[in-house]
Symmetry: C2
Subunit: 491 residues, 2 copies
C-alpha cells in the first residue's frame, strides 16, 4: 500500500508538471512513461498477492483485530481491488496514455477553437468509459456507475431530486434578481490589473487562510487546480487575467480551500492511501466554502479591501467595502462556469450533468456536443457561446476522462452551506472574526470536523457527524436567498 | 529496457523538481517515494530475467545478428547488470534515500555555513561508496573504481599524467599572467544588474545557440544544472546574482551546451537507455566548449555586446567589445570553482581530485575536510575561504554521492580544445561565423560529430574518430597560452 501511495505521489508530480510548464515536444514520451508507471501501480493494486492478503484479512474475526485506520484501509483497498481487477491491464495503460495525450490535445483545441480536432480523443475516452461501465457492471443506469467513482453511494435518482429542489428555488430567485432595479455597480472591476500584484495579493490571502507555503507552492496553469502530492506538498495553481481583478484571486482561494483540506489531514494517515479527501463532493465543499462563504462575504472585504487597495494603488480608491462586496456578487448569466456567480454556477453544473447523462444513458454522439451545449445554455441561462472555446471546450475534465465529476461542484455548495450552518453555531461571532482578519478559527474548526479525517470516514458519515442529518438542498437555498435578498434588496 | 528508461525519466523529473522549488516540508516523504521507484528500477536492471536475456544474447553468434544499436545496448546493459547485481537492493534503496535527503541537508548547511551539520551525511555517503567499491572490486586503487563510473576506462594513472602535464604548463602561464602589467579592466562588470533582464538575455543567447525551448525550459536553482528527461524535454537551470553580470549568463551557456548534446541525439535512440551523453567528460566538453570557446571569445562579443547593452540600458555604454572580452577573461585566483576563469578553473578541479583520492585511497576523515581544503586552496591558488560555505560546502556533488565526477570538468576542457582544433579546420571561417551571430554551423558540426551518437560510441571512440588520436593535454594548453598571450600581451 505504501508503494502504491508513493507511486501515486510521483505520478501526481508528473501531472502537475505537465500542466504547469512541461515543454510541449516532450509530452509524447512523457505520456508513455506515465503509462508505464500507472500500469505498474495498477498491477500492484490488482495483484494476486493483494487478492490473497485481502481475502485473509476478510476472514471472520480478522478485521476486528485491526485498528480503525487499518480497517478502513482494508475496506477501501478491497473496493479498489474489486473495481480494478475487472479492467485488463493493457486497457488501463492505453487509457492512461490516451487521457494524458488528450489533455494536451484539449489545450490546443481550446486555443485554436477547434472542437472537431478534439472529437477523436473524446470519442475514444467515452468508448473506454462505456467499456469500463460494462466491466464494472452498470448500476441503475450506466451513468450511476460513473457518479459512484467521485461520490461513493450517490445515485442519479438522488441527484435528480437534489438538483430538482435547487432548480425549484434558485430559478425563481434568479428571476427576482433579474427584475430587481437595485443592480450592484461593477464598473470598478473593469481595468487592467498588474499580474505581479495579483500574484502577491493571492499569496497574501493564502497566508491569511493558513495555507502553509513550506508545504506547498502557487503556480500558474491554464486551468487552476490543487494537487496533494503528499500532505506536506500540496500545490495549487491559478491563472492571472490582466483585465480581471478577481478571477485569479477567487481561483486561488478556491484551490487554497482544497489545499487546506489536504495539508491538515492527520499525521498518522500521511503514508497511507487514506491521506486524501474522502470524495470530490466533500473536497469541493471546502474549496467553495472558502471561495464563496468566506471570500465573497461582506466581513471578508471589510477587512481585506484596504489591503487590496495597497496592491493596486490608485485603482480602487473610491470603492467602499459595501460597494465592493455587492460588485463581486453581481448575478449575471454567463458562459464560463469558473467565472460564474454563486447562484447561476449551479445551473452550469446541471447542464454538464444533463449532457453527461445523455452521453452515457442515451448514446449522444460526441460530434453533436456543441449543438446540445449551446442549446442548453440558451435555455437555462439565455446566453449562447460565440465559439466552442467559450462553450463545450471550456473545461479540461472530459479530456481527463472525468465524467461524473461535475456534480461534485454543486454537491460541494450544498455540503458547504450545511456545514456553515453548524460552524456559525459553533463560532457565534464568526463574521466578527473574519472581519478582523482572524480566519484561523474557521480553519481549525474545519480541521477538527473534516480535514483531519482524510478518507477515514465516508462522505455521508462526515456530513451526518458534523450536521446530524444527511445532505439537504435547503441550506444552500436559504443561504443564497438570504445573501441575494440583501444585495439586491428583494422584497 | 524501455521501462527502465521511462522510470529514469520520471525520477529525473522528481530530482529537477526537488532542486527548482519543491516545498521543503514535503522532501522527507518525497525522498522515500524516490527510494521506492529507484529501487524498482534497480530491481528491473538486476532481475533474473534480465540476467537470462543477457546470457542468451551473449551466446556465440547471437550479438552478430543484432544491429549496431542493439549490440551496444546489450553491452551497456550487461555492464550495468554486472555492477548492480553486486549491490544488495536494500542497500541501494537506503543510499538513494540518503543522497536525496543529503542534498537538502547540504543546501541548509551551505546557507547556514554549518559544515559539522553536514558531516553525518557525508560520512554515511562515503561509507556507502567504500562499500560499493569493495563489492564492485577495487581497480588499481579504490578511487579508480569511482572514476570509471563517470569516464569509462579512465585511471588515476592516466589522470595523474594528464593533470601533471596541465600543471606543468598552466602554473607557469598563471605566473606570467600574474606578473604582466597589462591587466584587463573589469570595473564595468561591477554594479547591479536587473535579474529580469539577465533572464531575458540568457534566453536570447540560448535561442541563438539553437537550444529548443519547445523541448526544454530555463529555471532557477541554487546550483545550476541540465537534465535530459527525454530528448524532447531537456531542462536547464541557472542562478541570477544581482551583483554579477556574467555568472548566470555563462552558467546558462554552460548548461545550454549540455542541453544541445541531449536535444540532438538521433531520434532512433530516443526510447533507449543510450539516449544520453556517453560520459561525463564528453558531456562537460560540450558545456565548456560553448561556455568558454564560444561564450568567452572575442568574436562572440563582437556580435552580442551590442545586444547585451540593450538589455542593460546605460550600464555598459562606454565598453568596447575588446574591453569586454578582456574583462570577462581576467585571470584571478579565486575561491569559487564555478566563478573561476578558464585557466585557474583546472586548479580547482585538481584540488577536488586530490581530496577525493585522499578520502578513498588514504582514509582521510571527512571531519578534516575543511582544513585540508583550505590548505590546498592556499597552496595552489594563494587564497583561503573565509568560511566553509565558500570553501568545502560550495559544490553539491558530494551530497549526491558524485565522487569521481569532478575530473570530468577538466577532461571536458581537454576534449573540447582537441575537438575545436578539428572544428576550426572543418569550418575555416568559424570566427567570422560566430562574429556574425551564426552559431548554428558549429552546433550542426557538433551534432554530426558528437551529439547524434548519444551513448552509441564510447568516449575514447568519439575523440579518436573526431580527432584521429587519443585525448591529449596539449590542445588545451596551446589554446590557453594563445588566448592569454594576446589578452595579457605576454612576451
Amino acid at each position: 500500500m505504501t508503494q502504491i501511495k508513493q507511486y501515486e505521489e510521483i505520478l501526481g508530480l508528473v501531472y502537475w508538471d505537465m500542466r504547469t510548464g512541461a515543454p510541449r515536444k516532450g509530452i509524447g514520451l512523457r505520456s508513455e512513461a506515465v503509462g508505464a508507471l500507472s500500469s505498474e501501480t495498477f498491477k500492484l493494486s490488482t495483484s494476486e498477492e493483494m487478492g490473497e492478503l485481502l481475502r485473509a484479512l476478510n476472514e471472520p474475526g480478522e478485521l476486528a483485530k485491526l485498528g480503525e485506520i487499518d480497517r478502513r484501509l482494508v475496506e477501501e483497498t478491497a473496493k479498489e481491488y474489486e473495481r480494478n481487477r475487472k479492467i485488463p491491464p493493457d486497457m488501463h495503460r492505453e487509457y492512461v496514455v490516451l487521457t494524458s495525450q488528450a489533455e494536451s490535445a484539449w489545450e490546443e483545441a481550446k486555443e485554436k477553437n477547434d472542437f472537431p480536432g478534439f472529437v477523436p480523443y473524446l470519442e475514444k475516452i467515452i468508448a473506454f468509459n462505456r467499456k469500463f461501465i460494462e466491466l464494472w457492471g452498470a448500476k441503475a443506469t450506466p451513468y450511476d456507475t460513473l457518479l459512484d467513482m467521485y461520490e461513493p453511494g450517490l445515485t442519479t435518482e438522488e441527484l435528480d431530486r437534489l438538483f430538482g429542489e435547487l432548480r425549484a428555488r434558485l430559478v425563481p430567485l434568479a428571476e427576482r434578481i433579474a427584475n430587481s432595479p437595485n443592480k450592484p455597480d461593477t464598473s470598478f472591476l473593469a481595468g487592467t490589473f498588474d499580474k505581479d500584484a495579483q500574484n502577491k495579493f493571492s499569496k497574501h490571502i493564502l497566508n491569511e487562510m493558513g495555507y502553509d507555503f513550506e508545504a506547498g507552492r502557487l503556480d500558474e496553469s491554464a486551468h487552476p487546480f490543487a494537487t496533494g502530492l503528499n500532505k506536506n506538498d500540496v500545490r495549487i495553481t491559478t491563472n492571472y487575467l490582466p483585465d480581471d481583478l478577481t478571477f485569479a484571486l477567487f481561483g486561488t482561494i478556491h484551490e487554497g480551500g482544497h489545499a487546506l483540506y489536504e495539508q491538515n489531514i492527520r499525521e498518522e494517515l500521511a503514508e497511507t492511501t487514506l491521506c486524501t479527501g474522502t470524495s470530490m463532493g466533500i473536497h469541493e465543499s471546502q474549496s467553495r466554502l472558502w471561495e464563496n462563504t468566506v471570500g465573497r462575504s461582506k466581513a471578508f472585504w471589510d477587512r481585506y479591501l484596504p489591503d487590496l487597495k495597497t496592491y493596486f494603488p490608485g485603482q480602487l480608491d473610491e470603492v467602499s467595502a459595501e460597494e465592493f462586496y455587492r460588485g463581486i456578487n453581481v448575478v449575471e448569466p454567463s458562459l464560463i462556469r469558473i467565472k460564474a456567480d454563486e447562484l447561476t454556477y449551479n445551473l452550469h453544473i446541471m447542464i454538464r450533468y444533463e449532457i453527461e447523462k445523455m452521453l452515457f444513458n442515451e448514446q449522444l454522439d460526441p460530434r453533436d456536443l456543441p449543438e446540445v451545449w449551446n442549446r442548453k445554455y440558451e435555455e437555462a441561462l439565455g446566453v449562447t457561446p460565440a465559439n466552442d472555446a467559450e462553450g463545450v471546450l471550456q473545461d479540461v475534465h472530459w479530456a481527463g476522462g472525468a465524467f461524473g465529476y461535475f456534480p461534485s461542484y454543486s454537491l460541494g455548495n450544498m455540503y458547504a452551506a450545511q456545514m456553515m450552518d453548524v460552524a456559525r453555531r459553533a463560532i457565534p461571532d464568526l463574521d466578527e472574526q473574519i472581519g478582523a482578519g482572524r480566519l484561523l478559527p474557521l480553519k481549525e474548526w474545519l480541521t477538527e470536523q473534516v480535514y483531519q479525517y482524510g478518507k477515514l470516514q465516508r462522505p455521508s458519515e462526515i456530513i451526518e457527524r458534523v450536521s446530524e442529518q444527511p445532505l439537504q438542498s435547503s441550506y444552500l437555498c436559504d443561504y443564497l436567498e438570504n445573501k441575494y435578498r440583501e444585495i439586491y434588496r428583494l422584497e
